[in-house]
């Protein structure tokens, strides 16, 4: 479904991605793990069209989307829940979710998806009229994921959804991701919490200083001694 091939990204003089290739098959959960600065977020941002790669291609559903502007990528069906939640603090919870569905015209279906998001995150419904900025960190993360779902994406990309959340909430977020996936949404997940991510993901890539250094099935990587040492603190 998504094919990233030999991606190079520069920030000024810094060579942030040095030829990243990965693929996300339809219906699966794929995760990118790695330390800070390994290039995980940059990979997602390049896929979403927020940074322009210098070299390499990104193909989505058979189309070349490498040079599309971010809003066109979103309209093609890739929805990114960015790092740090980035909800709109001045908009109400409901408006935040409506922003997620901005490019859609099918009113009846939007209402259905809204009900579905409220079902996934009942707390959002309780806070429907509150402005996004008044939510707690965990609630904002739920709003960010809900907002990303409102575009009914073919591919949901999430950047560090567990960052700054209490362990109990992390569990809740991951079980929601599992539920979303089982309803047919393909997921590309970037996580520092390698343990939880590898358990959830079918397939995983390990990034180090802008390169893929290891890849394999999630459960295999969990057993890999190098991974355990570097990312699981053993």
């Amino acid at each position: 479904m998504l094919e990233v091939n030999n991606l190079h990204v520069y920030y000024g003089g810094i060579h942030a991605l040095k030829g990243v290739s990965l693929s996300v098959p339809k219906g699966e959960i794929v995760t990118l793990v790695g330390a800070n600065g390994a290039g995980k977020s940059t990979t997602l941002r390049a896929i979403a069209g927020l940074v322009k790669p210098k070299e390499g291609t990104i193909r989505f559903l058979g189309q070349d989307i490498t040079h599309l502007p971010a809003y066109r990528v979103a309209q093609k069906g890739i929805s990114l829940a960015p790092e740090g939640r980035r909800i709109f603090p001045n908009l109400s919870v409901r408006e935040n979710l409506a922003m997620g569905a901005y490019a859609r015209k099918d009113k009846a279906e939007i209402q259905k998806d809204l009900d579905w998001v409220y079902e996934l995150f009942p707390r959002l419904k309780e806070r429907e009229r509150q402005s996004g900025g008044t939510l707690s960190g965990g609630e904002q993360q739920m709003l960010a994921i809900g907002r990303a779902l409102m575009s009914r994406p073919a591919l949901l990309a999430l950047d560090e959804p567990s960052l700054g959340l209490a362990p109990l909430l992390v569990k809740e977020v991951f079980s929601v991701l599992e539920a979303i996936n089982s309803e047919g949404t393909t997921i590309l997940l970037v996580e520092q919490n390698a343990n939880a991510a590898l358990k959830l993901a079918k397939y995983a890539y390990v990034l180090e200083t802008g390169r893929v250094v290891l890849e394999g099935r999630g459960e295999d990587l969990l057993k890999n001694s190098k991974v355990r040492q570097a990312y699981l603190g053993e």
Binding site: A48, Y71, A74, R86, F88, N90, A103
Partner: protein, 297 residues
């Protein structure tokens, strides 16, 4: 001062205040989205009066048609300025944008001097605005009745667009987080274009009413109203639309009341306006309804 005089002065203040509000909104909308003080906004206000002048006095269009055309043409000028002067600098340091805005302002003023001439022209005030209306003994010019009324309708319409429509929602979203708005599939360039079009159309409405009240137009006429409207936007809290509206009325009423109660100081009317600005900035630097900027972590 009799009651009648007070009511008359209050209506005068509301008239001026409504006009300042209409212009102030253009400043505050652009600031909210681009963090840019669009110094050319007062000149766009001036350009609108010339559109109306030529459409009515030269092309002999009926006023309603000329007014609608002027709104559209001025909106296009605003969009053009954004497209040509500001968009190429979107990712450059903000100071470059600011200096460009000052340059655009001078450019429009001088272009007007060259093309239409520096000599003031008499504005063909519509009959609706110039007739005298008798309100139970208080005789008012049409301007003092219609301008507050029309500006209120336009302000309500704008608030409706910003707070109740999809495009308005996107404008509010862009003002907080451009990148996240892009991720929602929103063409941010188009939203910014709409903001310039709306702000410029409101300035055009303000310009036509201003010229009906003070029926002489000349290429530098936008400078002072522009500054005062900018002051109104800052007093209300720049970036906040309701704030700009309130700020406009405060400035307008304060200016008129200064002249009414202290006629011997009427030469200082502009100084009073800017004194209000200094006072507000001293006491509440973010403006009446503005939020202080919190550094994001």
């Amino acid at each position: 001062m009799t009651f009648e005089v007070f009511i008359q002065q209050l209506l005068n203040g509301l008239t001026l205040g409504g006009l300042y509000s209409l212009i102030a909104i253009g400043y505050t909308m652009v600031y909210g989205i681009l963090q840019l003080i669009n110094f050319a906004h007062g000149d766009i206000f001036m350009v609108a009066t010339y559109f109306a002048f030529y459409l009515v006095a030269v092309f002999a269009l009926p006023w309603w048609a000329a007014a609608l055309l002027t709104l559209g043409l001025t909106a296009m000028v605003g969009v053009l300025v954004e497209r040509v002067a500001y968009r190429p600098l979107r990712n450059e340091p903000r100071i470059s944008l600011l200096i460009t805005a000052i340059g655009v302002s001078f450019f429009i003023e001088n272009l007007a001097i060259v093309t239409v001439g520096a000599r003031p022209k008499g504005f063909p005030t519509p009959k609706l605005m110039s007739q005298v209306i008798d309100l139970g003994g208080i005789r008012m010019s049409g301007v003092s009745i219609w301008v507050p009324l029309l500006s209120s309708v336009l302000l309500v319409l704008l608030l409706f667009i910003v707070y109740r429509t999809k495009v308005g929602m996107a404008m509010r979203a862009v003002s907080k987080d451009v990148e996240a708005t892009r991720l929602m599939g929103v063409n941010v360039d188009r939203i910014i274009m709409y903001a310039f079009a709306l702000g410029s159309a409101l300035a055009a409405a303000g310009g036509m009413m201003w010229a009906s009240k003070y029926p002489q137009i000349q290429p530098l006429m936008g400078v002072y109203p522009g500054w005062k409207a900018f002051t109104a936007a800052v007093v209300g809290g720049i970036g906040n639309i309701v704030g700009a509206t309130i700020g406009g009325f405060i400035i307008g009423i304060a200016e008129i009341m200064t002249i009414a109660f202290l006629p011997q100081l009427s030469g200082y009317r502009d100084a009073f306006v800017f004194a209000i600005l200094i006072l507000v900035l001293l006491v509440k630097p973010s403006g009446l309804l503005g939020q202080s900027l919190k550094e994001k972590v």
